[in-house]
Each structure stands twice: as C-alpha cells, then as structure tokens.
Symmetry: C2
Subunit: 346 residues, 2 copies
C-alpha cells in the first residue's frame, strides 16, 4: 500500500500522526510519503500544488490529508488552489460522508434517536466548479456571478454510487436533497437521473426533500435518513449539520472518491485546520482515524476498517468525554485497541 | 390600511382567517381584499399571477399571504410563477425572518440558550434570479446550469438594512454568512460591502461565518447570533434551521420588504401549505399571526405589533403544547388576548 500523506496546516499534522499510528497497527507495511502542501509552503514559495507533486500523488494508492487553511492566507487561496484542485484533478466525484451517533457520544439534540446515515455528496461539479466572475469590480455597478454546473455524466455517476450504497444497507433508503422548486434546471436533471437509476434498484425506497426542509429534519428527526444524495454545496452544508447532531466535526470522517479507481482517492476529516487550538496537542484525532477506516474500505481492506471502527466505537463508549485526553493519548488508546482487536481476531 | 390577502393553498386559508381575526382587534378599520391565487386558480384557468391582479396588488399598503403549493402542481410552477414572481416584481429585497425561542416553547436542542436572532435574507438576487438553463436535455450530454447573480446595488441595500437593524438591537452584532472560500466572486462582493457599510456603524460588531459552519452553531450555540445577513439561498436554508431550533416553522414569521416603500411589502408564515394536514383545522396559525405583527411594524403601527407579540408570548408560555387546540381556537385565544391587551393599554 503506497500512501501519500498531506499533513497540511494547523491541527492537520497532529491528527494525521495519530491516524498513521493506528494505521500502523493494521497495515505495518504501508509505504508512506509525506508532501508539505499548505499555508507554510505557499508563504515560502508561492506554490499551492506544483504539477510535479500532483504527478507524484497520482502514483499512490490513496492520499490521507489532515487539513489545510490558515488565517494568514486570504480566504479561497488554499481552498481553491489546493484542496478543491486535488478533488477536481483527481476526479473525486463521490464525496462520502457517514454520520453516525456512536453510543456514549452526546448529541446537541434532546433525546436523539439512532442516527446512522451516509451523505453521498457530488464532488466535482455544481457551484464548486469555479465558474463565475466579477464585472465592474469596485464600482456601484459591480456584478458577481457564480455558476452551478451539473452534467448528466456527473449527476448520473454519483447517483448510481448512492443507489449502490443504499442497496447494500439494511434500510435500503435513499433521499435526494435539492431545491427543485427554485433551482428548476439543475433540479430537473437531478430528479430525472434519480428516477431513472431507481428503476435499476427496485428494492431501494426513494424520497425527495428540499434542502431547507432537510435541515429541519436533521435536527427534529435525523433517524429518518439512511443514504442522502445531493450536490456539492448542499452536501457541504448538510454534512456539517449531520456532523453537529452526531457529536461534532471532531468525529466526522470523509472520503473523496474516484470510484473508477483511475486516480487515488483522498481521505480527510471533515474538520478544518482549527488554528485556535493548533500546537496545543488537544485536537481529537478520531475523525482522522475514522478517515483511515474509510480509506481501508475503499482499498478493499474491509476487515481492518471494521477493526478500527470497532476500536473507535469502544473508545467513544468508554471515554470521559469531558476530558478525552491529549491528541497523542487518544491515538495511543485507539492504536492499543486496534492492536488487541487484531491479535484477537487474527 | 388597505390590505391585500392571498390565502393560497392548503392550510394557507385556515391560518390567514385567524391572522385576520387577530388583526381585526387592533385595526378594525382595515380594508381587506382577497385574491384567489394559487393551485386552484392555476388548475382552473392556467393563470398564476395575471398582470391585472399584480396591478391591483400594487395599490395596497401591504399583502398578507397564507401559503402556496400543492402536490398536484409540478414543483416550481407556483414557486417561480407566483411566490417568487411577487417577491421579484414587488422588489422585496429584504426578506426579514426573526427567530426567537419563546418561553414555554420546546426546542429540539438540549438545554437551549436564549435565542433571539433575526435573519436578513436578500430576496431579489442570488440563485433565485432564475438564470440558467438546460442544454441537450434528455441526452447523455445534458448540462444544467443555475447562475447566482449578485450586484453591488442589491447586496449594498440589504447589508445597509441589516446594519440598521443590528444598530437598533441591544447586542448590536451582525454576522455575515456566506461561503467566501469557495464562492470567491460573490463572496468577495459580499465581504467588501459588509466592510464598507460597517464603517458607518462603528458600534456594530461584525463577524463572518461560512454557511456550513453556521449550521453547526445554529444547533450547538444558537445564542451567539443576533442579526445575520446572507444571500437568498443561504437565507432560505438558515431560516428553516433557525425556525426548527426555536420550536418549528409553525411559529416562524416572515416579511418580504421593499424598504423603499415603492411597492407593498408582503408578509407570510415561513411554513408551506402543508397539504398533509390541510382541511382538518389543526394547523397552528401562530406564524401567520406573528407575520401580521411584522406587517404592523413595517406600517409604523409598532404598539399594535407589540400587543400581538405579547399575546403570542403569553399564549405560548401558558398553552398545553401537547394539544394546543384547533386552528380557530388558537386564533380565538390570541384575538381575546390582544383585545384585552388593547383595552388595558388603551
Ligand atoms: C474548506 C472547504 C473548501 C471545504 C468544502 O467546502 O468542501 C470544507 O468545508 C469541506 O466540507 O470539506
Ligand atoms: C417555497 C420556496 C420557493 C420558498 C423559498 O425558497 O424562498 C420557501 O422555502 C421560503 O423560504 O419562503
């Protein structure tokens, strides 16, 4: 397993170190190459993602990313020039974001139900395409546009992926989230594709929700969701909200998948670089560790993925949530659990 | 006071009847004209908003709308052809949506703090502009676009309004919500306008949040928000979520304002036509009643607005939330409270 690691900024390197510690327990032979991309490199050299680095990244089986972003860098530079560039160049069309309320974890909602959903967020189109511009900047006649681009090709492949995932889950339920009553063009395409693909999955029940209404259910009735398929921006919003109701982005993992496997997929915690707590060794590495589990699943190492998940579940059920321990201590605990799990099941 | 009333579809007419009952207690002389727009008219005549009706609506001081929408009408027809057409034709650039957790009301979030925010949502631009289209429909090469249009003119006027409102509130705090790290063009315009207008309001503290992160705080720390200013789509999403955490869209009022007063402003509950409960007389008219209070505020009848709000607050603090009563009964209670309030303070 050839793994490229981009520790990134802020707490990125801190959580990545623990994620690799845990990975070491299940795949001790993983070959790891680190790439220093992010705020520091941009400040030092002006580089965001040199072509040569992109070429090297392509030679790996997967990429593990910590977090990028720093207040010293103007908003959008690292996001567009590095994170989104990776997602787009490597054709990460399925942005996979499970949200599960683990036993022992406190939800901000009162009397939470069982929550176990996965959001399949489109990753290479929509408002993230970077189309748009400014006209007559800094005049009273300025116009700023942002264009959401949705293609049959792009919507079809992510919807198919979402249906396959729904098919493989016990509840076999899929919810399309969009805003078809206002975004009538894109909404029409998304609705028609979901209808077409649903014919291939007669066992999967399908419903539709407007994005505004979906946010209501996310706090009043999140147990209703199984698989959600949605566009890039709605997926961004819904997955932060889903993470919040399942205990916070400190626990939320994600995979940016090229399901064709032509390019390496990239795994990253949903949280950002959290500059406010960086360098203190107090960041929770659980989301990064769970991202490793998603990576192992993608690479076909399902048993190792289950072991990591089980270890995280055990730790969350038993940890003192008021003081879960330092970043390294949580990593040590998880590594030990995975290691004993490994010995037991080996 | 010349008031145009559009009862609309589903529970629209039911809640509007109660709202008018309450209005009758404070402005018994209001001249009311009803307009039958909505699903029934569209089915019967194909009409959505005839020019002649639009012309008549313009002759009023304000418009009260129940709700439009019915499952028998394809998604988007009534929304684009009637509701959004009214908002755009009448230049309702400030979509005002307060969200307050009233004593006695149960929030779905555990241990909710004091919540008292107002979302100032832009109402005439953004992704709601209706720009975009379908190319090569029903082919494998189909492309659907949606264009978010943001103008200096449009952003400036709504940001100014939001700052004035923040200035008039005790906490004097304003949060811009956007996604500047991805929607860099529109984000740049919104950020620059907020910065410029903030110079005119040195007492107002300003911060910025990405929309995804704002949804997290909406459930983990909603007390932090005072005035939020945001674009049309983000405002749509955030106000449903804000309504959810403050007890549900059954209580959420809104005003679509032309703050220049060139056109009548329009007031409507945030909830939809709720076809599932229509005709049963069980819809909660409180949101419609609170929308009347917003209308009275806009028309300068502040004392009457306060009376209605106080009556709603009293009713919410004392009602049996498990069985709040029939639509008409809630209306009767509120009307009686307003009437006794009127007598006491008169
Ligand atoms: C940092 C930002 C560009 C990114 C996104 O919007 O996709 C983040 O919010 C996420 O969800 O991974
Ligand atoms: C019905 C729909 C067009 C509308 C909107 O998106 O503005 C509604 O959700 C609202 O918030 O008033």
């Amino acid at each position: 397993m050839r793994l490229a690691v981009i520790p990134g900024d802020g707490i990125g390197p801190e959580v990545v170190a623990e994620a690799l510690k845990v990975l070491g327990e299940v795949v001790p032979t993983a070959e790891i190459t680190r790439y220093d991309l992010g705020a520091a490199r941009w400040h030092a050299t002006g580089e965001l993602l040199p072509e040569s680095v992109l070429g090297e990244l392509r030679q790996h089986d997967a990429i593990l990313l910590g977090a990028v972003g720093d207040p010293s860098v103007p908003s959008g530079i690292l996001e567009r020039g590095l994170l989104l560039r990776l997602r787009f160049e490597l054709d990460h069309h399925v942005n996979l974001r499970p949200a599960r309320l683990y036993p022992g974890v406190r939800s901000p909602i009162a009397d939470p139900p069982d929550i176990d959903m996965v959001v399949v967020r489109e990753g290479t189109e929509g408002l993230y395409a970077g189309n748009g511009g400014l006209l007559r900047k800094d005049t009273p006649h300025e116009i700023a546009t942002e264009v959401s681009i949705n293609t049959s090709f792009g919507v079809d492949r992510v919807v198919r992926d979402a249906f396959s995932r729904a098919q493989a889950r016990p509840r076999k339920h899929l919810t399309l989230v969009h805003k078809t009553n206002v975004l009538t063009h894109a909404g029409s395409l998304w609705s028609r594709v979901v209808e077409e693909v649903s014919l291939l999955h007669p066992e999967v029940t399908v419903n539709y929700q407007h994005v505004d209404s979906a946010t209501i259910h996310m706090v009043t009735d999140p147990g209703r969701f199984d698989v959600i398929v949605t566009d890039n921006l709605f997926g961004d919003i819904l997955t932060d909200l889903a993470a919040a109701v399942t205990g916070g982005i400190g626990l939320a993992a994600s995979g940016n998948l090229d399901v064709t496997r032509r390019n390496p997929s990239m795994f990253e915690p949903v949280h950002g670089s959290a500059p406010d707590i960086a360098g203190q060794g107090i960041a929770d590495p659980t989301a990064a560790v769970l991202s490793v589990a998603l990576m192992l699943d993608h690479l076909g190492e399902h048993e190792s993925a289950r072991r990591i998940e089980a270890s995280v579940a055990f730790d969350l059920a038993t940890r003192d949530h008021a003081s879960p321990g330092a970043t390294y201590a949580i990593g040590d605990r998880l590594a030990a659990l995975v290691s004993s799990n490994t010995r037991t099941t080996a």
